[in-house]
């Protein structure tokens, strides 16, 4: 076996990852995290070698988000149980906040996802958001690709309140928002249009009774006739991760949304846009709105990225170079 510390051979690694080799997958995630130039080259090659048919059409990339304390990790754990009963393999990317002062992070989500136990068909990688408060760090999307090559379901779990939900919804097929019972925040955000409408709303902790059902009915009345940009009618469900009720239905509804996308030919189109979203997000983080304007504005960037095609790291690097060159010249 290759020692973990050395940089692996990317083509062989991609083949092993597609064959669901867990050690290879772990190495590929480390590689995609690695900022050293030689690792970046290798990571780009690795991503280019992953089977494109899997990345474009296979599996289901799900984003789960919601305020702290809503019970996202317990819900993920309950979903994993259901998916495993259905013989589906599951990869999880669990994103937690980083300390703004030390850069360190406490990643405690695994603790509540022990359901996987020693199951080789469940793979959980915890990630710190690394300065992206409530959002996604730059590594999440490439890592989700490696997982998509290996597993039937890939789930990204992230803390989010308000605007930050947008991040994960732009990089997943289906976004599920978990609302905190007895807290009106999510509803206010929805009404005010601060929160982008997810594909699915869930009120967890149905076991606490009245407070949960009140939140559910408020959500339902807010959502009345609400559809997303594609015309999908957004359902609101009540579940209890603790008692395991409503989880089957939740898994079914998630699957329904995927099928809905596939039937309309929207899944692949959605996936193809993730790359552009990722590049624009990174450019915005690095250079701000100013930088995006300098590069011709967001709409132009998306058009250009869609036309040109190319590997994500290359596209990003070339746009970055272009901005820096312009900036120096101006």
């Amino acid at each position: 076996m290759v020692a973990m510390r050395s940089i692996p051979e990317p083509e062989a690694l991609a083949v092993s990852v597609s064959g669901r080799d867990r050690t290879a997958l772990a190495m590929s995630l480390n590689l995609l995290d690695d900022k050293r130039p030689e690792a970046r080259r290798c990571a780009a090659q690795f991503l280019a070698t992953l089977p494109s048919e899997k990345l474009d059409t296979a599996g289901h990339l799900i984003g789960i988000t919601g305020p702290p304390g809503a019970g996202k990790s317990s819900l993920t754990s309950a979903l994993i149980d259901v998916w495993r009963q259905r013989d589906l393999s599951v990869g999880v990317l669990a994103v937690d906040p980083s300390s703004p002062i030390s850069g360190g992070a406490l990643l405690g989500d695994r603790l509540r996802m022990q359901a996987g136990g020693a199951d080789g068909n469940v793979f959980i990688r915890s990630l710190a958001c690394r300065g992206e408060f409530g959002g996604l760090s730059a590594e999440v999307w490439p890592m989700s690709l490696a997982m998509l090559a290996a597993f039937d379901i890939v789930l990204i779990e992230t803390v989010g309140v308000g605007q930050k939900e947008i991040d994960v919804s732009k990089m997943s097929d289906t976004t599920c928002f978990v609302a905190q019972p007895a807290s009106g925040d999510s509803i206010q955000f929805l009404k005010a249009g601060i929160m982008e409408v997810p594909h699915l709303l869930v009120v967890n902790k149905a076991d606490i009774g009245a407070a949960a059902s009140k939140t559910l009915s408020e959500l339902r009345s807010t959502l009345k006739r609400q559809t997303d940009a594609d015309g999908w009618r957004v359902p609101a469900l009540s579940v209890s991760a603790m008692q395991g009720t409503g989880i089957e239905e939740l898994a079914d509804t998630l699957e329904n949304h995927r099928l809905w996308l596939v039937e309309r030919g929207l899944l692949t189109a959605r996936r193809k846009r993730f790359q552009a979203e990722w590049i624009v997000k990174r450019l915005r983080e690095e250079f701000g709105r100013f930088g995006i304007e300098k590069l011709g504005g967001e709409n132009r960037l998306f058009e250009m990225l869609a036309q040109r095609g190319g590997a994500p790291f290359d596209q990003y690097d070339s746009l970055r170079e272009r901005f820096l060159a312009n900036w120096k010249n101006s």
Binding site: A3, M4, K35, I101, S102, L106, R110
Partner: protein, 669 residues
């Protein structure tokens, strides 16, 4: 000259918390201790028994007979109390999640000895709520746990009236870092939660409720700040008087008495110059015996060498003799309350009472004790207090002789060469227990067992009192693992919040902290990604305070910490290390099972290709074992004497650098 104005007070119950290896070995120890003048028993169970696993369960490996006696079934319990007439004994059992089961076994053995249930006297700790905050031997979610506590209380009040069905614990809260105010507030909030639950369960008639209140007892810790501890005990008594009168309207003053047992503090015992622990223990004992009006009813003292490993019978005898000298040689018991009328004491008591009432109000605002545990509020407060304590020790503001000051020492004759000064559990104990268990299973009536378990399941689901069905299981030959599995199936299992998600940044980081942060950051850059560490506890030991503090500190110096919590199998640890892509694995083990667990973890790491990932171990690790662990490939071992957290963090960076082929930093942090 003082005149004797009162009758000499009766001494408290003297116990030694003990049990190890096997029921037979523990029985011999108990009978020896009783012959030395000990007046009650305090049973320590091993971790598989406490967490509801039989000795042959995979999670029990390495843990059988380590921190207490293994009890798998009624035969073990009969052996444990062989030649000890239970009708005349007063037995305290430190048991929580499986308390209903162990009490059932105790009752069944007493019945076989020819005693009636009403003859029995003793205590089941049975405070599962504090297990979520410290100690960690919980199994079920809070709801079912409160129901089990409630069932035991309701049953014993009716059938075993001299039993103390629950010992509400502030002891373990102090070990987890609680301040005196927090101890008072959380223990009393727990007590009212439990009493309310009993009241609402409808199992007790309103006129019998006074008896329930009268049976509630407490288990308290006494630390080295012994004046404050004296005041804490007086505050406890005053607050309990107020609560029982106002909240529960208890008329009979006897039923309002604050009754408590004590084990003095282990948190402050040191591994370095361990003989100093003797004076610490004596001073702490004074805190809970000096006030006649708030004197402990039962006392057990740790042994001077507890921070080194398991105490030997001689060490325990020394602890018992300390109590006897105080009770029988001194004139302490000749006087009335010596603090009554002291303005200094009264003021301190009052300030503790006010602080406690305010904190109890905050718990109420969080929806009560159960909710405040579920949301992580209480645990975060404890983690924060503990972090503060460690920082104070590190800064030298909190002085601990022999640890952060006056460290120079002569060679100790108590911890000599070739004699590590601790007891070793016979490695054959686990295998022999499994053999006995198998033999027991082979000869029992399986039809009786099945019927008793089916009945237990019905009762667990219906909400009927769990005790009669459990006593039937005990007689039928059900095992600890079987009883627990039925309840696991019905109630489910639970993981409480860890409380480490506090943001407690060092307001004024010292130069040392900043230097370590730099090392972490630079090494992360050299390796291409932030440094990641897995922290977890293999085995069944739930004492997570150390692991939590390491996690909090490591986050504060810039590591990404994957915290896996407690009760992990070696396989789970290897799986997590692989999936998380960590640079180092940190294990914490306090139960003495480190050798077995480390061996298994290396095997599992090898299977997933992680033989190169460095592993460190922290916990109660005897010196000889430290050498053996390093010989097996453990990169570093940390014990309670290692208090310089910055140095530990700096070590971790060096270990990661070395294992990744990077050179060492030029100068020390």
């Amino acid at each position: 000259m003082g005149t004797k104005t009162v009758k000499r007070d009766r001494p408290w119950l003297m116990r030694t918390y003990s049990g190890h290896s096997s029921a037979k070995a523990s029985n011999e120890l108990y009978r020896t201790n009783l012959s030395k003048g000990q007046t009650g028993l305090s049973v320590a169970f091993d971790l598989p028994t406490q967490t509801g696993y039989d000795a042959d369960h995979p999670l029990a490996r390495g843990e059988v007979g380590k921190v207490g006696v293994p009890i798998c079934n009624i035969r073990d319990m009969e052996t444990l109390f062989d030649q000890i007439p239970l009708g005349q004994m007063n037995t305290s059992m430190t048991i929580n999640a499986t308390a209903a089961w162990l009490l059932s076994l105790y009752v069944a053995v007493a019945e076989r000895q020819g005693f009636a249930q009403a003859d029995l006297q003793g205590t089941t700790q049975n405070d599962i709520l504090k297990e979520y905050l410290s100690r960690g031997t919980y199994i079920f979610p809070p709801g079912p746990s409160v129901r089990l506590i409630t069932d035991i209380i309701s049953y014993t009040v009716k059938h075993i009236p001299k039993w103390n069905p629950t010992n509400i614990c502030s002891y373990h809260l102090q070990e987890a870092g609680a301040t005196p105010v927090q101890e008072l507030a959380y223990a009393l909030s727990t007590a009212t939660t439990i009493l309310d639950a009993v009241k609402n369960s409808g199992q007790i008639s309103p006129d019998a409720f006074e008896d329930v209140v009268g049976r509630i007892s407490f288990f308290v810790n006494a630390g080295i700040r012994f004046i404050e501890e004296v005041c804490k005990m007086r505050a406890f008594a005053a607050l309990w008087e107020q609560i029982t009168q106002e909240r529960y309207n208890v008329r009979n003053p006897e039923m309002r008495r604050f009754r408590y047992g004590v084990q003095v503090n282990s948190l402050g015992l040191t591994e370095s110059q361990p003989e100093n622990n003797v004076q610490r223990i004596v001073l702490e004992m004074l805190a809970v015996t000096l006030s006649k009006n708030a004197r402990a009813r039962a006392l057990q003292l740790p042994a001077w060498n507890e921070a080194l490993g398991l105490p030997r019978p001689w060490d325990q005898q020394w602890a018992l003799r300390m109590q006897q000298v105080l009770a029988f040689e001194t004139d302490l018991l000749d006087y009335g309350d010596i603090f009554d009328g002291s303005a200094v004491i009264a003021a301190k008591v009052q300030s503790l009472i006010e602080g406690a009432l305010a904190e109890m109000e905050r718990v109420r605002e969080h929806g009560g004790m159960v909710q405040a545990i579920e949301t992580g509020y209480v645990k975060r407060q404890l983690v924060a207090s503990h972090t503060e304590r460690l920082r104070a020790i590190e800064r030298g503001d909190l002085k601990i002789v022999g640890l952060n000051c006056y460290r120079e020492t002569e060679k100790s004759p108590l911890v000599g060469e070739g004699d590590s000064g601790i007891m070793k559990v016979d490695p054959r104990a686990e295998r022999e227990q499994i053999e006995r268990l198998n033999a027991f299973r082979a000869q029992r009536n399986q039809a009786d067992v099945n019927a008793a378990l089916a009945n237990l399941m019905d009762v667990a689901k219906s909400g009927e009192n769990i005790m009669p069905a459990s006593i039937r299981c005990a007689h039928a030959g059900v095992t600890t693992g079987e009883w627990s599995q039925v309840l696991r199936d019905v109630f489910g299992e639970y993981r409480p919040p860890t409380g480490i998600d506090i943001s407690l940044h060092d307001e004024s980081p010292t130069g040392a902290v900043q230097a370590v942060r730099e090392r972490v950051r630079i090494t992360g850059e050299e390796l291409g990604r932030p440094l990641r560490i897995l922290v977890g506890k293999p085995g069944l030991d739930g004492h997570s305070n150390g692991a939590e503090q390491i996690a909090v500190k490591a986050r504060d110096v810039g590591f990404e910490i994957v915290y896996e919590g407690i009760r992990l199998t070696p396989q789970q640890i290897a799986k997590a290390a692989l999936e998380e892509g960590v640079h180092l694995i940190g294990l914490s083990v306090l139960s003495g099972s480190h050798m077995e667990l480390v061996e298994d973890i290396f095997v599992e790491l090898g299977k997933v290709g992680l033989s190169e990932t460095p592993v460190i171990v922290g916990g109660i690790i005897p010196v000889e074992d430290e050498k053996a662990l390093k010989a097996k490939g453990i990169a570093a071992v940390y014990t309670p004497k290692d208090i310089d957290m910055n140095r530990i963090m700096s070590d971790l960076v060096d270990i990661i650098r070395q294992s990744n082929g990077l050179g060492p930093f030029k100068q020390a942090a």
